[in-house]
Symmetry: C2
Subunit: 430 residues, 2 copies
Amino acid sequence: MANLEDMVRELKLGAAKLSITSDATRKKALNAISEALLENREAIKEANRLDLENARKSGISDAILHRLQFTDDKINAAVKGLKELIELPDPVGRIRERRELDPGFILEKRTFPIGVIAMIFEARPDALVQIAGLALRSGNAVVLKGGKEAQNSNRLLTEIIRKASVSIVGAEWILGIESHEDVNTLLTLEKYIDLVIPRGSNSFVRYVMDNTRIPVIGHSDGICSVYVDENADLGKALPIVIDSKTQYPAACNAAETILVHENIASEFLPSLDSEFTKLGVKVHADDKAIGYMPSALPASDADWDTEYLSLECAIKVVSSIDEAISHIAQHSSHHTDAIISNDEKAIERFFQEVDSADVFANCSTRFADGFRFGLGAEVGISTSKIHARGPVGLDGLMTTKWLLRGHGETVGEYSAPNGKCFHHKELPHA
Amino acid sequence: MANLEDMVRELKLGAAKLSITSDATRKKALNAISEALLENREAIKEANRLDLENARKSGISDAILHRLQFTDDKINAAVKGLKELIELPDPVGRIRERRELDPGFILEKRTFPIGVIAMIFEARPDALVQIAGLALRSGNAVVLKGGKEAQNSNRLLTEIIRKASVSIVGAEWILGIESHEDVNTLLTLEKYIDLVIPRGSNSFVRYVMDNTRIPVIGHSDGICSVYVDENADLGKALPIVIDSKTQYPAACNAAETILVHENIASEFLPSLDSEFTKLGVKVHADDKAIGYMPSALPASDADWDTEYLSLECAIKVVSSIDEAISHIAQHSSHHTDAIISNDEKAIERFFQEVDSADVFANCSTRFADGFRFGLGAEVGISTSKIHARGPVGLDGLMTTKWLLRGHGETVGEYSAPNGKCFHHKELPHA
């Protein structure tokens, strides 16, 4: 492997070329990638078999093996995902603001690709295809570091994607790296890399944030909660709470805490207890809740701040929506929180006052996802309040430029005592 | 002074209250602040006189004294600025995206205040009023640290603003700090502070970025350039170049480098030389330019990377727009760069390919400013590509939340083999 810094410098030059390619060119490249993936299906499955074999030998958990597997279905879904990205409107060159400063003196805020984005993600070959697709669609170059268990799959996928697209876009725009050392080098290359998006464990994301000057977008914890209000439709509340907790417990948008209003606790909690028992969900309940949940364990203080990521959750009875909002302010990781209620005022208060990336009413926390949101997949979910918040799709991979078109205007003319004045007239834009 | 951490924790609680105040309440508070500033005009001028006296004693430069002075005109302008902020549409609660995921299942991306913003700025009392106004208008709490030379003015202004507004908005939202120690403590309070915006010297901004985990927005260098194309209207080029360099040479948006196409160098540079000589601008010219500019000094390599911030500049003759764009890519600080040309294709290439926050055609670089852009003043200019780029006004002080309103939807229903599908229909929004 050539020197990493040299390769990333090349990628920066490639990013400049990619940023000015047309919509049609980037779509053509995505189509070529889709075809190349299907043509190389057997080779991809063979590389993946090798990864699976090594993973089994090293005794990796079934959950990780399941994510690592790149089956025919997953390959088809990845290609379908690329096709869907092609259908989305071009995120490049959109006009976000348009204003006439003075007759004929026009200011525009237009979207442009950010540049070079470094993505560090888990051992999921389908994630590699999705992330590469989002980067190319949005005109950004990308450095990819996937989980080491998927090394053979990732190496082949990166090469297939690169070969199929580089001659079409006329730019080197994708680079795969494999070692932890390379990640550490990457984090020092602030001159060439514009944004780092780490996915993975809480401690890993923290490590990245603490070891680079490059801006980082991502999330560490996913402590999500569902609040069942006194005016909830309990027939809806039960399936929503069960889906939020059990539909995919290892996901960051799965619920960890259930808050239940005291006025409906005696009706709701016994049925929840019986469903959770059937599904094998271990419950840590507070003093008030435990009376209605014979199978629960008593909750300790630590339970309110725990991301279980498994069939386990904490349940608390609250005396008001205020107590629910204040519990969430104190313990939520500001990722996704939901209210179940038929009271419009309670919903609007929850929407206003809960300071999280995603705030939902009457549906499962598991909807917090770029595909489900209609963003054309996601590179990650951000709990940062800066730049992008919640699922990050094409829009989160854009920056803007202010473009000002004049006819000889000087600031001197606008600063003189009886000089020109700005009229700042908003203009329509698409 | 009470413990700073306690005070900032209080401010975080205040920020939550401020974030849900109505547009009318925040406007009323800004009006009350305007009145209070006018009522306390004499006391403000007295505090400012004390600062000026101390500053003169310590032998501070005329330029800083000029910025420090809070004259009647500047007080009037500051109050006028607050009135203009009131006129701008409410930035809180705006709908940025609206999408139906499935019939009746509506997703909205709505703007919300970021929370607590720490601003560190130079010794300009008018900047304090402007920043506090932007924070309040956008529903954000703010910690203010102004230049120490303005200590008495700042302390009084902060107190006047606080007293006039806190009972109206029902929240503590503004806190002034004075010492460098407090700044260092502030940078550790990531739990309570959502964003730091430092203004000041390159090295100070770097210091802030290197010493906090809180997101930072700002700019360090301001190496701006003007490229005079072969198809430029030289009658316009001359006043634009002069305005860009001399209208206020200490500003970050003043031009430091002038790039001139070789086909018009023999016509343009002698007249520029004579104007610059009259205005006392010292020129560092490359080998080709120096022949046309008898008063110039020969440029060294370092000149292309120098932010003079004074009546001094570097001039280079280039053989094509490509060379100009490539010079800017290598040496510009990606703040503001301008092209002077009558060739639409050259302008569009410059707009596309120059990767700077502000890219201008046929006008002065000095227009890079929140007030001139119609943003209702600015808290700073960002050269970051993340979150906000260029002048940062109300919009740059907002984050968003994704609000999803369902009727019992679970992800399980949408994941089943013959389950529900998303239709992702874009809905109109204001």
